[in-house]
Amino acid sequence: SQQGEEDPQALSIQEGENATMNCSYKTSINNLQWYRQNSGRGLVHLILIRSNEREKHSGRLRVTLDTSKKSSSLLITASRAADTASYFCATDKGYGGSQGNLIFGKGTKLSVKP
């Protein structure tokens, strides 16, 4: 698989439930970022976790990073219909002198039903 593969590809839940999305990658990284994209719209930066961090919170978002397994998870708690979107992880290539160019995964399409 390629760098930044998310699973599941699609996730459908009821409002109020938690949504967990996973991301795996292959190479070493400086940081891993999660983005959200509403259908046909721009990318919204959600959260960045550095390679020396294991967990980070932002509002209803919780991101974990396991560099030994080269994986990350994004948890959205108490989901709302407005959370319906595609969620992407993106990794920074991580070698010295990198200009921070991101490699994106294919994304998880989250649908939150009212």
């Binding site: 400086n30 940081n31 046909g40 721009g42 990318l43 920074d92 160019n101 991101l102 294919k106």
Partner: protein, 113 residues
């Protein structure tokens, strides 16, 4: 909150024509990027720009593509002779420091007919 602004939001062009996609990055940002997303596919890196020169580019960014920062505020992507397969959403992004993250614009949807 500061934004990256892209214009136009949608552009339709005929195959073989030149297009210029425009971006206004956040004013105190130093690093600039173009990405593209073909419908239903991954977001792909095209090029990064720092200190008035290209710092890195992908295989996609061939001789048909060029970038410019003409006036200290705009950052443009030019496609010299568009092909059907250039149809995609093009995103501009900027960063004050890459390790801190990036701000993306809302994109320009380019349709080549």
């Amino acid at each position: 909150e500061p934004e990256v602004t892209q214009t136009p939001s949608h552009q339709v062009t005929q195959m073989g024509q030149e297009v210029i996609l425009r971006c206004v990055p956040i004013s105190n940002h130093l690093y600039f990027y173009w990405y593209r997303q073909i419908l239903g596919q991954k977001v792909e890196f095209l090029v990064s720009f720092y200190n008035n020169e290209i710092s890195e580019k992908s295989e996609i960014f061939d001789d048909q593509f060029s970038v410019e920062r003409p006036d200290g505020s705009n950052f443009t992507l030019k496609i010299r002779s568009t092909k059907l397969e250039d149809s995609a959403m093009y995103f501009c992004a900027s960063s004050q420091e890459p390790i801190w993250g990036y701000t993306f614009g809302s994109g320009t949807r380019l349709t080549v007919v």
